[in-house]
Amino acid sequence: MRHPVVILLLFIVSLSGVEAQQTYRVTPAKRYVLDGFISYFEDTTTRLSIQQITRLHQQGRFKPLPSSLLNQGYTASNHWIHLRLEANTSQPVFLALDNPRINELWFYQLTENRLVRRVLTGDAQPFDSRAFPSRNWLFPIPLTATTPTDLFIMVAKRHEVLGVRVSLWGNDAFEQHDRNDYLFWGFLTGFSLLILLINTIAFVATKDRTYFWFICLILAIAFHISGQSGLGFQYLWPNSPAFNRLDPQLLSGWLIMLTQLQFMQQFIGQKAGQSRAYYAVNGFKYGLTLLLVLNVVLRIVDVFPRHHFQWTFNATLALILVSIGLAFWSIFERIRQGEKVVIFYTSTFSIQLVGYLLVFFINLAFTRGKEPLFQFDSYMLIVINLLFDLLVLTSGILFFWFQKYQRQNRLLLTALHQSEQAQSQRIIDALEIERNRMAEDLYDDVGAMLSTAIGYVSSTLRKPDVRERFPMLSEARSLLDRAVENLRTVSHNLMPKNFAQLGLAKSLAETVDKIQHSSPVQFEYVIVGQERRFDAATEVQVFRIASELINDIIKNSTATQATLQLVFNHQTLSLITEDDSPRTPVYNNLTSKVDFVQGTLAIDTSPTGVTTIIEIPYQ
């Protein structure tokens, strides 16, 4: 990261006439730009000692480095860099090498060709082999005013991409930078743990796998970041340098791809029967898992020391492309349906994709030994992506889970309602059967008895003298006749005979006919439209509703004319009665009957009469 340029002192000191490198004069300042002050030498034999190296330096065999970035691409050599420092006053400075994953790093501090300090470290050594406990390589260097200091540093990454930036810090500036650096990492860790905690609680509460895979994804990303940044080695496996050999930063990338795809499948609900991408994604997941295991085994056994990293790296880039392709395929299968879940995932994924692509290109540049377009570590992008994931995806998951919860609630309520309805239906059916039986018993038994009595009375009345002497007997006969008629009406209203066969319309016609004979009200019965049948219970109820309306007209009104219409509309059946008797109608339980058939009731009273309209929806 470039900082404003500090004033440089050009001071050419040559121990021998051939030396072309300049000495860096340190003045009390914050951070020092070393561009142009570093030289380097590549030892392809990997066997040269420090003495041989210093000799080579004196012979001028070191080449100047144009910037402060040593970028060698794939290499197996020992790379030596040299820096000479000089100060006006005694002050401590910090030398930093920004690449946590250097396998071997040897640090030599010489003053007037005498070895003052030596540190042999690297990520192949336990963590506490370092000069200064930090995720990066830091060397505190006390400078004296009198003599310049020569620094020789060997960095090696066997058969891997070597790129390291060298920087120099003033003591105070370094401490502040270091604190800020760790503060940031601390914040990130804390925040991640908080989000993980929320998701864990949500997972335990709802048992929804989406949360579990999200947690795995975050852990995979965190693992990757810890590997790349060196924090993992510092805090998680400081005494197991062998773990660094497994390229955790790369393989964690594979884990990220795995968990990302798994999470995606859960989040958008990609299922076997409904998606073709499902099978491809699953195949990729299983293949990747196998490859991962194979990779680890090969590395442990060290089958291909020269090419292993390169192949793993290239495979990673290729796998990234495939996994992105699979993700987009899965999304496009569903995007047409406009589901909110899919749209949400697409947006977040696309934003992250920009980050991943940048990572891709930066790493690609490094492998070619070229300067990448963007002067920042690729894993910073991963960090940003991680924060993005934590915030946005967690919110998304919680939101969509809540929606699902509401939907399930509604379904449960509906199921409950239906179950209650079914229960009431059973009760009503039982009552109907009971009523039916009662009607038959009533009519058959009582009716038959009344008829018998009529028979006797009429028989007695055949004798003319009886008719004269006992006029009341004729009265008795008419009373009995009326009793039978009433009984017939009541029984018919309770359960008309043959109702199921005749249906609603014809049964009502019979009712109206029967009433015509015994009532002064002139009824007009109209059926409009194509008759549609309801289920048995509903038809009986509608019949009872109509009976109720007719009953009120006959019993409680002074109507002379009335109409009863049964209108079969497209969506509903309308039952309409009109009469010419202004009054307030008295109905018995009409609203509950109308409710049962899920109908609507409208009673319109006016000075000219009453109009009652009932609309019943078809099922």
């Binding site: 009519y443 006797y456 028989s459 009345l461 005979k497 043959n498 109206v512 029967k514 109409t563 109009t611």
Partner: protein
């Protein structure tokens, strides 16, 4: 009648069956030759006792009275069957007519009616109880043939007239003392009955038929 008409009474209701017998006993021209209380015993009794007229209740339990009647009509063509029942239902009446049952009377008919029925069927005529419901619809506008055709009610015709005079729903509601919802319902029904869906068509109808 020179000889008495032989009657067989088939009814599961003991009281009624005995009552009918007692009712008919004083009559000179008829003679009750037997009583049957179960539907399955009827054919056998008919064979044994050879009545002229069978008084048959078609609503006996466990028996389809109509089937028994049909069977007997075929087997014993000379037998006159009078259905005796509590039920005044159109369907039964129609079924009996179709089958060729000779008579149909309601149980609450007096003895006069029963004797009348017996005499009529013996004279090879059909006797169907005058108390049975007639299959007619009481129509207030029997003289208005097109109204009969469309089955429009008086109220609906009023409304068509007002629509023809360009009344709005609200105005019609006011004039007829109805709610606007009721007026709209009437208009929907009118449209359904006349098979139209545009208000303009209703105006046209009103004008064409002189209602506006």
């Amino acid at each position: 009648m020179d000889t008495q008409t032989k009657i067989l009474i088939a009814d599961d209701h003991q009281l009624f069956n005995d009552g009918m017998k007692m009712m008919l006993s004083p009559e000179d021209n008829v003679q009750v030759v037997g009583q049957v209380f179960s539907g399955k015993d009827v054919p056998d009794a008919v064979n044994r006792l050879r009545p002229d007229v069978l008084l048959l209740d078609i609503n006996m339990p466990h028996t389809n009275g109509l089937d028994v009647a049909a069977q007997l009509l075929k087997q014993v063509p000379a037998l006159k069957i009078i259905v005796l029942t509590m039920y005044n239902d159109r369907k039964f009446v129609e079924d009996c007519k179709k089958m060729g049952v000779h008579g149909y009377i309601l149980k609450n008919s007096g003895v006069d009616e029963v004797i009348n029925a017996i005499e009529t069927v013996c004279a090879d005529k059909k006797y169907y109880d005058p108390k049975l419901t007639q299959t007619h619809k009481v129509n207030l506008h029997a003289d208005d043939s097109f109204m009969k055709q469309f089955q429009l009610t008086k109220r609906e015709i009023e409304i068509i007239g007002l629509v023809g005079q360009s009344f709005t729903n609200e105005e019609m509601a006011d004039k007829l003392f109805l709610s606007v919802a009721t007026v709209k319902t009437h208009r929907n029904n009118i449209n359904l009955k006349l098979g139209i869906n545009k208000p303009a068509d209703l105006v046209k109808f009103a004008v064409e038929h002189g209602l506006a």
